[in-house]
Symmetry: C2
Subunit: 168 residues, 2 copies
């Protein structure tokens, strides 16, 4: 089982955007540059985050991305489902109904016990991810950023690359 690289890039991008001031945005090119990743690949995931209502897109030559809501309302689960889709990891193909002697339909009304156990484990995974918000991650990062390297890196980058959005 493997989550795509897009999950890591998406979570880090949302965390970086959480540092923007209220009237600022970051272009996809800046997000890709900061993280040293392919812009075309990242764009696909930024689009997925926009579609899921996690990011807002400001169009135009001075446009870019910003959070659509507060970092305290965005969980790791929201981001994982936006990027990876909402289907469970285990997808029961009902092999009980295959082969030369399949189970009759009446015996498969009740979900397969294997599927039920796999879905229960997935719920435990999702519950853990739903407990952690981007605000929690940033708070934990800040608490452990003893020499200020992480904060300095983000501030220097945003100072150079964030774009100001004039009030409409």
């Amino acid at each position: 089982m493997k989550l795509g690289d897009g999950v890591e890039q998406a979570i880090h991008s949302v965390a970086l955007l959480a540092g923007l001031r209220a009237d600022r945005v970051l272009a996809a090119a800046a997000l890709a540059e900061f993280h040293g990743v392919s812009q075309s690949y990242l764009l696909k995931h930024l689009q997925a985050l926009s579609n899921a209502g996690i990011l807002a897109t400001v169009p135009g030559p001075n446009g870019g991305y910003k959070l659509a809501t507060s970092a305290a309302k965005i969980t790791l689960l929201d981001i994982v489902l936006a990027v990876e889709g909402t289907a469970p990891a285990f997808r029961c193909a009902e092999i009980r109904r295959r082969g030369p002697n399949p189970l009759p339909a009446v015996a498969t009304i009740r979900p397969c016990e294997i599927n039920a156990a796999m879905l229960k484990a997935e719920r435990a995974w999702r519950n853990e991810l739903a407990k952690v918000t981007i605000a929690d991650v940033l708070s934990s990062v800040a608490a452990n950023d003893r020499d200020g390297f992480i904060d300095a890196r983000v501030c220097a980058f945003l100072e150079l690359r964030e774009r100001h959005q004039p009030a409409p």
Copy 2:
């Protein structure tokens, strides 16, 4: 995130082999036939289950597979890790160290908070899977097999296709 189809086939195969009598084995062809799946694809997973010590292989023209240990000692986690590998689903690529202004090594000694949160969720998932043994699954199946369809299907198949292993 998606688990391969092999996981479902492997769990069902182990559950079927748990129904064999002590001195019997089933050939890969019989396991593939019962589940209506590709034998060549299933063989790869049976090999992985053997490598992980879940199945034992009896060689020879009358050979086949049987459990290497009791069904009460084989968990869903054992099977998932045997088939999918033991690497976690989230694989941190340390993108903190990329880009034009990477974090210095001293600031990345502590694991990334995002990686830590993702691994915590994976532990919750694995813990759930580790709680469920094949014996538990079979016991739950039997408890809900009111018309005996499932038991009858397995018994009829094993009666026809299981192979007797004479004592050495």
